[in-house]
Symmetry: C2
Subunit: 531 residues, 2 copies
């Protein structure tokens, strides 16, 4: 139905009227769906797992004064859940004690798999009474060590809490349990012409409760905003076992303090999210994806400005990959870029309700950026499987980089004018001590993923990256964690993004809501200095 278009450097002639095309230049079929994030069936990276020492050792953490799980405790949980949902055994717990990258490892002796809010409440009531520390866990797809125990915390997994309770098709609201896998939930609401306003590489494994607890961002924040806007309500169980019902399903509710926000992004340290209600926009009828090559970061900035003004309400993603990232996916994963090599690449996605209109807007936008020469080359795809191929160039960058050996991963927010300067400065700063320094990410949200790779973990390299990176970020009024959270790995750097007064109030809120500190200890809030 649609014709073909390939922009070319020297001839910025306007594309023909019907220029949108399925992508013809992919050399090989995409491999099994893996994306940049953990697969449905968990395997740690073979290159990283063998060097994954215990988190407590690597990060020199002192165990809190919690009880240890005893036979009596175990019996209580077996009586509550039955033997198949109160699980012990090193092998059985292996994938729950370690993150998918093999970068953090705990030693929990017990995994609990409740199916109802009531069971979560009983578990926490008991743990609080018996001073047992708890690590809440969803799909365990996090990056900062937030969803894995550090010592012997009891793991409370929401995996079996995967029921959709209702879909309000009038207003577009889905209400479901926390353990629903993001992709499955999106497929569910698709039947009703709706879309979950959140999409990320880990969608096949991550759970909506975990997404909410970490305030996950992903690919379409530019279009749909973040979860503080789209979560209408939630239910959470406090450390005491008390059920906090903030499960409003209306779009506006100004009755008192909006407590649900305390649970969005607090990474399970203030409560375990058990249900959520999410506002779902109409599912777009038309989606287009353009993959563009550019000569400089300045040109990506101009392109973004044009996209924002010309694509307006249909702009749904604006993603950056530098040549280091694209070279990696070509070299390590044998994916092939549809266009020739350039210093920078951007993916521009549009989503709208009218294919012809979107096509014309995209045409006008591309015409403009080609004419002015800020875009040198590009291709447009509309067929879903071809779009998935192009998306995999972006989504699998991290996976490719991991194959260098060890990755130092950082996820920061920066003002756009200095968005990529950070990568260049870091590259110079680290010199030849590393394999690569790559920058990619959600440029439309000001969210950069900066990845440094090396053959293996080296504390000296880590110390050269951190805190330099955070100081730089703070100087430029960025955030040291845009969307991944603080978890374990970044908690002691919180002061680079938050004021002393804020951190003090956070600690007071934690003390108020979880006085014994049983919920996800060693995470989010900075380590207390020993007295």
């Amino acid at each position: 139905m649609l014709g073909g278009w390939q922009g070319r450097v020297a001839r910025p002639s306007p594309p023909p009227p019907h220029f949108l095309t399925s992508l013809l230049h992919f050399a090989s079929p995409p491999p099994h769906h893996f994306a940049s994030s953990p697969p449905r069936h968990f395997h740690t990276s073979p290159l990283q797992s063998d060097r994954c020492e215990l988190t407590s050792k690597r990060y020199r953490i002192e165990r809190g004064k919690y009880s240890q799980v005893s036979e009596a405790h175990l019996q209580f949980f077996r009586d509550l859940l039955g033997p198949h949902r109160a699980i012990v055994g090193e092998d059985e717990l292996e994938r729950h004690n370690m993150d998918w990258m093999g970068s953090v490892r705990g030693a929990s002796p017990l995994l609990l798999r409740p199916t109802t809010t009531r069971e979560v409440s009983s578990i926490l009531t008991y743990c609080n009474q018996h001073n047992l520390a708890v690590c809440p866990q969803g799909g365990n797809t996090g990056i900062v060590g937030g969803s894995v125990p550090v010592f012997d915390e009891v793991i409370v997994s929401t995996s079996l809490m995967n029921q959709v309770e209702s879909v309000d098709t009038w207003s577009g609201v889905v209400t479901c349990q926390a353990g629903c896998v993001l992709e499955a939930l999106d497929q569910h609401v698709a039947q009703f012409g709706l879309i979950i306003p959140l999409d990320l590489g880990a969608k096949g494994s991550c759970q909506i409760g975990g997404n909410v607890s970490t305030n996950a961002g992903g690919l379409r924040v530019l279009r749909y905003g973040g979860l503080h806007g789209s979560v209408l309500g939630l239910e959470a169980v406090l450390a005491s076992g008390e059920v906090m019902d903030c499960l409003s399903t209306v779009k506006k509710d100004n009755t008192g303090y909006d407590l649900k926000h305390l649970f969005i992004g607090s990474e399970g340290t203030l409560g375990i999210v058990t249900k959520v209600a999410i506002s779902c926009p109409p599912r777009p009828a038309a989606v287009n994806l353009a993959f563009l090559g550019l000569s400089s970061f300045e040109d990506t900035l101009s392109t973004y400005k044009s996209a924002r003004s010309q694509l307006g309400e249909i702009l749904s993603s604006f993603e950056l990959i530098d040549c280091v990232g694209l070279d990696s996916v070509e070299e390590k994963l044998k994916l092939k870029s549809p266009i020739a090599k350039h210093p920078f690449y951007v993916l521009v996605e549009t989503s709208g309700s009218n294919a012809d209109h979107d096509e014309e807007k995209l045409h006008n936008f591309l015409n403009g950026v080609l004419k002015t020469g800020v875009v040198k080359d590009g291709t447009v795809v509309t067929e879903p499987s071809r779009m998935a191929e192009v998306w995999s160039l972006r989504e699998r960058v991290y996976e490719a980089l991991m194959m260098d050996g060890y990755t130092y991963e950082h996820d920061i927010s920066l003002p756009l004018p200095v968005f990529y300067k950070m990568v260049e400065d870091m590259r110079r700063h680290l010199g030849s001590d590393i394999v690569r320094c790559c920058g990619f990410g959600h440029m439309g949200d000001g969210n950069l993923h900066l990845i440094v790779t090396a053959r293996q973990f080296d504390e000296d390299v880590l110390n050269r990256i951190v805190p330099t990176l955070f100081e730089w970020t703070a100087q430029h009024k960025g955030s040291i964690s845009a969307e991944h959270g603080l978890g374990l790995k970044k908690r002691n750097y919180i002061h680079y993004s938050k004021s002393e007064a804020s951190i003090r109030l956070m600690k007071q809120v934690k003390q108020l809501m979880d006085p014994k500190g049983i919920l996800n200890p060693y995470k989010v809030l900075p380590e207390e200095k020993m007295k």
Copy 2:
């Protein structure tokens, strides 16, 4: 440039291709800009002001154990701010001691007008030390008595804190002081092709700090979402005088608990918002407004569903007015509807980046709803002054209703299928004891304004409306305050929308952040039962 179109009941023939039109059928020019909300220059409604007794008397409230403002206190504030920003005198304070409707009245002896965060901090430090209660006040455009003192609280007005600090044109972020008037702020960002994602009738008077503190909703939540999504950061001064810097300007920041949300919608009871940073979308290049007449509420539902699917990303408002409301603006304000009488009317607004595309989408939508007969009549306007005229039919409903004498105003959220049933049930329930019972509001957000009018205030009528209305709302899982907040008037009904556990946690948060309870007492949280 554009042709004319008037849909007609009996002939749902498709409109001609170029059907968008400036509105030709307005009988009289619009009156001086007044909207449904307080004018820039404050006058209480003459019909209501004479019966505005003291709030403490009408609502039988007991004064908290706060100090009274003494000469020594006054001297401190005069030394801090100078004589012209520490104001005394009944006349000078009149418009600050009463709301614009004349429905609540306090007796503050002192109005403070700081210009900087540092001054707010000094004021609160002093008030906290000396146990002086404080009423923060922005534009004083609230409906629920939240921005007016109840007894002799010191009024801290943000009116002079009206500086825009910066506009990030790359990402579309404005950072400003709390006292910026919404309309002026919007005009400021318009220079940069941006729009403030918030619009409401009171825009000429309300201040952005007050908007944020009450989590104001308004006309375009349907398109841009609420303030929890679009406020990127804020600065607030706590009761202790401590400055809480949560003034992030990046779109994503997952570093610890997102404390700013505590100040959004807590109506000044947890802190005084002094600065805000707001994400501003590109200003739409094209805006269209359709005014439609319908025979039944079921038809408005069908029309909404069509609008949502066919207008998709350009749908920016979907507002309902019932015939009671429209008759009132015609009768009391001498405005004239551009179409014949119908039981229901909806305003459908589109905002987009391409006028031709929007026009075509709107055409297709209107064609569909005319063909199926769910819409009986309608007109479309695109010229700004004509759009303002049509908007005034919606925005001035409340003003017209006030002219009946006394209004019992309620702002609730309901699931769409029962959205209007509430009005019909209430009309039957109240019978002939009232003048009118009117329903209108932000239907696209599920937000109904239900207004009962009478010749004068009658406690018996109030008691027949409340708690019946709230019980009904709670049974249907709605919210008893969609966008106006709880303030003074609704605080004791909070349990209809919030669980016991939630209310308990709210009180604990209040106790944590304002242990002496000096900030906006008698508001939001329910009255403590006397022991």
